[in-house]
Symmetry: C2
C-alpha cells in the first residue's frame, strides 16, 4: 500500500507517519520510484503499536524508541519485557529519606515472604513502588500499606492471568508484542475495571 492508505489504515496522519520514518521508529517502505514507497501490513501494525504506547500508555517518544529497539533486538521475551517495564515506570517522585527507608523495608519483607526475586533499589519498578508506599506513609495512610500482602496476592493472580494470555502464543514477535500490550493496555484496563468495581462496592458501603 502507499502512504495515504497506510495513514488511513492505521489512523495516523501522514505528517506523523513521515516523522516516525525520519526518527527511525517505523522502518522505511520498499521504494518503488524516487518519490514513492510501498508499505505492508507490518507497517500498519507497527503504527498501531506506537499509537497505543503514546496515546494509551502515555509513553514519551524517546521511551517508545527504546521499547521498539528492544522488540527488534535479539533479546529474549523476558529481557524485552524488563526493558518495557523500566520505560513504563517513569521517574519516581521525591519522598523523605525516613519514609523511603520504611517503605523499602516493607517491600523487601513482602517480596521475601512471597518468594519474589530481589532487585537492586535502582530498579525503576521498585523505586516507584517504594515512592508510592512512602507517600502513603507520609499521608498517614497506614490502613492502605497494612493490607499490602493482600494486594500482592491479588497482583500475583492478575500476573498469572497476564502470563497465561501471553504464553498461549507461539510466535516470538507476537509474544513480545502481546506482553507489551498486556502491560501498557493491561494496566489501563485493570485500573478502569477497578474504578468501576470501586463505585459499585462503595455505592452500598459509603452511600451517605
Amino acid at each position: 500500500m502507499r502512504m495515504a492508505e497506510l495513514s488511513a489504515e492505521s489512523g495516523v496522519p501522514v505528517a506523523t507517519v513521515k516523522f516516525y520514518l525520519r526518527e527511525g521508529l517505523l522502518p522505511a517502505g520498499e521504494r518503488t520510484s524516487p518519490n514513492q514507497a510501498r508499505y505492508s501490513a507490518a507497517h500498519v501494525q507497527r503504527l498501531r503499536l506506537i499509537k497505543a504506547l503514546t496515546e494509551v500508555g502515555g509513553l514519551p517518544l524517546a521511551s517508545v524508541g527504546v521499547v521498539l529497539g528492544a522488540i527488534d533486538g535479539a533479546e529474549t521475551p523476558h529481557r524485552t519485557m524488563g526493558v518495557v517495564q523500566q520505560e513504563l515506570a517513569g521517574t519516581p517522585p521525591k519522598v523523605s529519606e525516613e519514609a523511603a527507608e520504611w517503605a523499602s523495608g516493607l517491600l523487601a519483607d513482602l517480596m521475601r515472604r512471597h518468594g519474589w526475586k530481589e532487585h537492586p533499589p535502582a530498579h525503576r519498578t521498585i523505586a516507584n513502588l517504594v515512592a508510592a508506599l512512602a507517600t502513603a506513609k507520609e499521608l498517614g495512610q497506614e490502613k492502605l500499606t497494612d493490607r499490602l500482602a493482600e494486594y500482592a496476592d491479588l497482583a500475583m493472580r492478575v500476573a498469572e492471568l497476564d502470563v497465561e494470555v501471553v504464553a498461549g502464543l507461539t510466535s516470538l514477535d507476537k509474544i513480545i508484542e502481546t506482553g507489551l500490550v498486556a502491560t501498557v493496555l493491561g494496566d489501563r484496563i485493570f485500573a478502569g475495571l477497578r474504578h468501576l468495581a470501586q463505585e459499585q462496592v462503595s455505592r452500598e458501603v459509603l452511600r451517605g
Copy 2:
C-alpha cells in the same frame, strides 16, 4: 508553625507553597502580623496530599483544584470519589468508530453479567476503558480481551479490599482522603506489584 517550617515539614519548597496559596489550593494561614501567618498540621497534610496527587498521581494542577474542591465541599464520600475518578481518568485516546462500537458492546455485556450499574458513554472511566479495549482489538490482541471477565473478577476483589480499607474509618474527612489516596496511590502500587509479579511468573514461563 511559620512558612519555613511548613515547607520543611511537607517537603514542598516555599515558592511552591506561596503559589498554592495564591491559587487557592491551600487555605490561608492565621495572620499574626502584616507579613506573617501561622500554619497548622492541617496545612502540612494538605500539602502532602497535593504532592501525592501531582507527583505520584500525575494530575495537572487544574484537576487537583477540582478534586480538593470536591473534598472541601458538602458532597457525600461516594459523590466525591466519583469526581476524583473522573479527574484521574483524563482524556481518552482516539480510536476507530468500528473498534469503539465493538468495545462498548463487550464492556456493556460484562457489566450486565457482573450486575454493575450502567453508566452513560460519556463517563470518563467508561470512555477510557472502551478506548483501551478498542486499541487492543485494533492491535489484534483478542487474547487479552477474551479474558476480560476474569480480569473483572479480580478487579472486584481488589475493589472490595479498597473499600474495606476506607470503611474501617470513622471521620468523613479521613474517609474521603483515604479513598482519594487509595485510588491515586492504589493504582500505582497495584501496577507496581503486578509488574514485579509478572516478572516473577514470566521468569519461569518465558525464559528463552
